[in-house]
């Protein structure tokens, strides 16, 4: 049996833009088992600081496993210092992946805020095979949060970008791009991942137009295995764990509180 936790070599670790990095890990068994929406839980170094593992969506799973990450604290700083050949302790793939859109739907819209774009390249790899039309609405804070999206384009995604300060694309939150969505519930399905207020605005929009969708959620995690019940979030069906019941949830099941 494949071990759910193992150590693997870093293949590459490159900076994509001012804020984002892309780490490639030689973890073929993880890549083979992975499905879009799942994540890996990384122990960034063998020490008590930082104490917890750190969860990252799987950005790509081909021969290697890749993640897209933003440096925000100690854990991601340590990750950014990794070099080719370094060893990384990886648990995964874990979590419930995205569901495919219901039958009859041809068009998916992926709505991402910042590194919330991470699960969508892998998703577009899979949806491309199934010949979906794809649109990516991407909202970044500034141009430092906008990276080269060539691979999304190669998968056939139409891309629209906004930044809070207007330094790239349309000025404003990603909601300014909702006009790009064909709001026909028989044709369009939504995937979203990003900060909570952003996902709440997507949920409002989807509700208004009766669109179905899925959202990938975040919460602080300890085990990543459904053991500690620490990463629970509120849903219409009671508390659910992000690491086991999610990260992918039915968009309308989630309860976002301000």
């Amino acid at each position: 049996m494949k071990k759910l936790q193992d150590t693997y070599n870093v293949v590459s670790n490159e900076q994509l833009c001012a804020k984002f990095y892309r780490l490639c890990i030689d973890a073929k068994p993880v890549a083979l088992a992975a499905r879009p929406g799942q994540f890996i839980h990384i122990r960034v170094r063998n020490s008590l600081e930082p104490f917890f593992r750190r969860p990252f969506s799987i950005y790509r799973a081909k021969r290697h496993v890749e993640i897209l990450y933003e440096v925000i604290g100690t854990g991601t700083q340590v990750l950014a210092s990794k070099k080719k050949g370094d060893i990384l302790d990886v648990l995964g793939p874990v979590g419930t992946p995205f569901c495919l859109p219901p039958k009859g739907i041809k068009h998916v819209v992926m709505i991402a805020g910042g590194v919330g774009a991470a699960p969508f390249l892998f998703l577009s790899d899979v949806l491309k095979e199934r010949r979906y039309q794809m649109t990516l609405l991407y909202g970044g804070r500034t141009k430092g949060h906008v990276f080269n999206m060539e691979e999304f384009k190669k998968n056939g995604c139409k891309i629209f970008t906004s930044t809070d300060d207007g330094s790239v694309g349309v000025k404003g939150r990603v909601a300014v791009l909702f006009s790009k969505i064909d709001p026909d519930p028989g044709k369009t399905f939504i995937y979203t991942c990003g900060p909570r207020p952003m996902m709440a605005s997507v949920q409002d929009f989807a509700r208004e137009h009766e669109l179905q969708g899925q959202a990938s959620c975040e919460e602080v995690m300890a085990c990543g295995l459904g053991a500690c019940l620490g990463c629970s979030i509120k849903t219409a069906k009671g508390y659910k764990t992000v690491c086991g019941d999610g990260p992918a949830f039915d968009l309308h099941e989630l309860i976002f509180e301000s």
Binding site: L225, L229, S232, K234
Partner: protein
């Protein structure tokens, strides 16, 4: 080499177990051969009625540890017995069931329910959960500790283990009370009360405001409590608090613990309980220790 240990009339193939609330992932992570190596399994505390748990966020990372306020989320005794117990029994490792009653009567009903199902090695009484908003825990009140332990001991067909809270002035007093009331063993310790404040929002980082601290951060305090208690009681101690490695576990054994439980470490290194077991065996081999009992409480001063 003999590493078997006993608690009351229950025997265990080795002294390594897992702390309640930290081992809900055995089917996901382990294959059967691996998990069979554990001395015992202690699942998450079961209450009489289902509890949905505390509002999120429920956990926070702290220096060398974590704060949690899960709020005893569990499906309640009946559903636990129906849905979860069969799979746990199938593993074939002795089960220690952790129970918590909100009243004496609930403790009595819980003990009776587990008497009826059979196939359990011991009951652990969670007298020390700090997360239910009560001002005083059972384990902070010698009289209540005595009453609850005696009540369960009178009816339980299994050995009874009292799990104590470190949030007391003198844990030895409570430990002796539990022993006098008939406890077959003590679990030391549950989490230390704690809190973390986000200075940007001026709010606690936990939905429940306060929580329980665990992990290596608490280990020296827990080792101290085990050391002090072991000198004063005759019943065995199951020790826990920040055990990440065999070296950590051996400190507790030398301080007087008969068994050791791996808790928070499961979240960081799911392999930790087996690493601890292998490390204890390696230490005994290296130091030519034939029987684990030679080192239990054998601290040189």
């Amino acid at each position: 080499m003999n590493i078997t240990v006993k608690i009351g009339n229950a025997g265990f193939q080795n002294p390594v177990t897992v702390a309640s609330g930290t081992f809900g992932h055995s089917e996901k992570y382990y294959n059967l051969q691996e998990v069979k190596k554990l001395g015992a399994i202690i699942p998450k505390t079961v209450t009489l009625k289902a509890q949905e748990g505390n509002p999120p966020p429920r956990i926070a990372e702290t220096p060398s540890g974590m704060l949690n306020a899960i709020g005893l989320e569990n499906p309640g005794a009946d559903r636990f017995i129906e849905d979860k117990l069969p799979a746990l029994k199938k593993i074939g490792v002795p089960l220690v069931i952790s129970i918590l009653g909100h009243t004496d009567e609930e403790f009595r009903i819980l003990a009776e329910k587990f008497n009826a199902v059979g196939g359990i090695s011991a009951l652990e009484l969670n007298l020390s959960c700090p997360n239910l908003g009560k001002k005083v825990l059972v384990a902070q009140d010698p009289e209540a500790t005595c009453r609850v332990v005696r009540l369960v001991k009178d009816i339980s067909k299994y050995p009874v283990i009292a799990k104590l809270s470190p949030n007391v002035t003198d844990i030895v007093t409570i430990a002796k009370t539990a022993e006098e009331a008939g406890a077959d063993a003590l679990s030391l310790i549950n989490t230390f009360s704690g809190m973390v404040i986000d200075i940007k929002t001026r709010k606690s980082v936990l939905g429940n405001v306060t929580g329980g601290l665990s992990g290596p951060a608490i280990r020296p305090m827990a080792v101290y409590m085990v050391y002090k208690t072991a000198k004063e009681v005759k019943i065995p101690i199951i020790a826990m608090g920040g055990i990440m490695t065999a070296e950590d576990a051996l400190q507790y054994i030398i301080a007087g613990a008969t068994m050791v439980a791996v808790g928070t470490a499961n979240f960081i290194n799911p392999q930790a309980p087996l690493d601890v077991l292998n490390g204890i065996k390696a230490y005994m081999k290296k130091n030519k220790i034939e029987d684990i009992k030679e080192i239990i409480g054998n601290i040189l001063t």
